[in-house]
């Protein structure tokens, strides 16, 4: 594909411009489907939560409600962006951009398949940690610039929560690094090659669970959504936002959900690898072969978990969130890091190759 575009443009453009064009096309090829996926995810969320409430969810716009998210999007984009009086206008408008930029930028290093990756960065995991941490700036700036007590409270809560859970999450990822021996996401997947028993979710099970729960907290989703807490502080950091600016926060939240789900799939469930690898089913088309379809299936599973959590659990109290993060997750991860270290030193299955 890349060569084809290259040969198409070669007579007309200088070499560096072709490279830029190809990169831009790749970015569009990732961001475009991502935005559509976010739209469909909002519909899926309303449907799944509806079903768990014994309702049927939106079903009026389009067949089975399929056009509902697009109707919502158009409504949001057509609405006015109201800047509250006394707000810092520049920061107020920058905040959603920061949020959405951080949420999208992280996708650059995501490996969809053995070859399908925009930037095959060697320190990919580090890059993702750095970029996703940037997302909290969007929240804090939004809360501060809104000149509203509720927004400010939400921003403070969000900041404290994300900082706390980043530590547990980081420790969980250290386990993955030890097991894979690489920071490159593609390498991490390749280290799980072989069969489903080699996936890191088995030896790193506690880290896997902690990673996913931290990811839920990190994305400010229920039951860790005190930053939004509609029953306590209206909508938290984005109370004052409307129209396209609010849509940006929405987009960022759902893009982040998909990102952390994808990371969970890549780091603990073998990314694009097929779970039937190394079994009799390996010869089957699609099911036996590893491809981005498998990756999407795994991401879908995690996304359903996100929605399932939201439909099931009441919101944690703020001090309970802090207790869970600092007094439960961090000690468990540290203990398990020691266990994994010894395991790798012993060189028994599945770490005999490290």
């Amino acid at each position: 594909m890349t060569e084809f575009i290259h040969s198409l443009l070669a007579p007309y453009l200088p070499e560096w411009l072709i490279a830029v064009t190809i990169i831009l096309l790749k970015i569009v090829a990732i961001i475009g489907p991502l935005i559509v996926a976010v739209a469909l995810l909002t519909l899926l969320e309303r449907k799944v939560i509806g079903y768990m409430h014994v309702r049927i969810g939106p079903n009026r716009v389009g067949p089975r409600g399929l056009l509902q998210p697009f109707a919502d999007t158009f409504k949001l984009l057509l609405k006015e962006i109201v800047v509250p009086g006394g707000a810092d206008k520049l920061l107020f408008l920058i905040a959603p951009v920061v949020s959405v930029a951080a949420a999208f930028a992280a996708w650059a290093v995501v490996p969809f398949d053995a070859e399908m990756v925009l930037a095959d960065v060697n320190a990919g995991l580090l890059y993702i940690l750095a970029i996703t941490s940037m997302g909290v700036y969007g929240v804090i700036i939004a809360g501060w610039a809104s000149n509203s007590k509720y927004a400010f409270l939400g921003a403070m809560r969000s900041a404290a929560q994300i900082v706390s859970y980043e530590i547990a999450m980081g420790f969980a990822l250290v386990g993955v690094l030890m097991a894979a021996g690489s920071l490159n996401l593609g390498e991490i997947v390749n280290a799980q090659d072989g069969n489903a028993a080699r996936w890191f979710m088995w030896p790193l099970l506690p880290l896997f669970v902690i990673y996913f729960i931290s990811a839920v907290a990190e994305t400010n989703r229920a039951p860790f959504d005190v930053a939004e807490g509609e029953s306590e502080i209206v909508a938290g950091f984005h109370v004052e936002y409307s129209g396209a600016a609010f849509a940006c926060f929405f987009l960022a939240e759902y893009a982040n959900m998909m990102l952390v789900s994808l990371l969970a799939a890549v780091m603990f469930m073998g990314g694009w690898l097929s779970p039937f690898q190394g079994t009799a089913l390996e010869a089957l088309p699609f099911i036996g072969q590893g491809s981005f379809l498998w990756l999407f299936a795994k991401v879908f599973f995690f996304l359903i978990l996100f929605l399932w959590f939201r439909a099931t659990f009441p919101r944690y109290r703020y001090d309970q969130i802090m207790r869970l993060g600092w007094k439960v997750f961090i000690p468990i991860t540290i203990v398990w890091l020691v266990v994994v270290g010894l395991w790798i030193m012993a060189g028994v299955f599945p770490f005999e190759r490290v």
Partner: protein, 162 residues
């Protein structure tokens, strides 16, 4: 011991998994949504919707301007003025119900000695201004004339409980 059990339960998220099991079961359960314009929830003959004034079969209006409904109305939504008619009977010259005040308690219907003011099953009506929701005597009688059959049938069905 119980503290230890509690610790294990919370560490392995047992209660949370139990909760997810419940919601997971309901996910596949039968949905109870009523698709409103096409489907409707069942309605009782006692349903208290839009008001109506009834007439006797010979066309004479039932209301005798006793003003019991006006007195009993907790929202003070009813306004009545009365006068003697040419044949010597007392009749209302004005009978207004302000639907924006009405709380649909049905006390007016209960208090009425001649079953004149009633609340019907009609609940799909709207007004584009306050005056649309201000029911005058003419409007109330018109509703009564239009739905008399339904109203009479509902009163009949409930007769033994009243």
């Amino acid at each position: 011991m119980s503290a230890f059990v509690r610790f294990i339960k919370s560490l392995f998220l047992l209660e949370l998994l139990g909760g997810m099991w419940v919601t997971g079961r309901y996910f596949f359960g039968r949905k109870i949504t009523v698709q409103y314009p096409e489907e409707r929830a069942p309605q009782s003959p006692r349903f208290r919707g839009l008001h109506a004034q009834r007439r006797y079969p010979n066309g004479e209006e039932r209301c005798i301007a006793c003003k019991l409904c006006e007195v009993v109305c907790p929202a003070m939504a009813i306004t009545i003025e009365s006068a003697e008619r040419a044949d010597g009977t007392r009749r209302t010259t004005r009978y207004d119900i302000d639907l924006t005040k009405c709380i649909y308690c049905g006390f007016c219907e209960e208090s009425c000695p001649v079953d004149s003011i009633v609340e019907t099953r009609i609940y799909e009506y709207h007004g584009e201004s306050r005056s649309d929701l201000y029911m005058t005597k003419e409007k109330l009688l018109a509703v009564g004339d239009k739905y008399e059959q339904q109203i009479a049938a509902d009163r009949e069905a409930q007769a033994r409980y009243r």
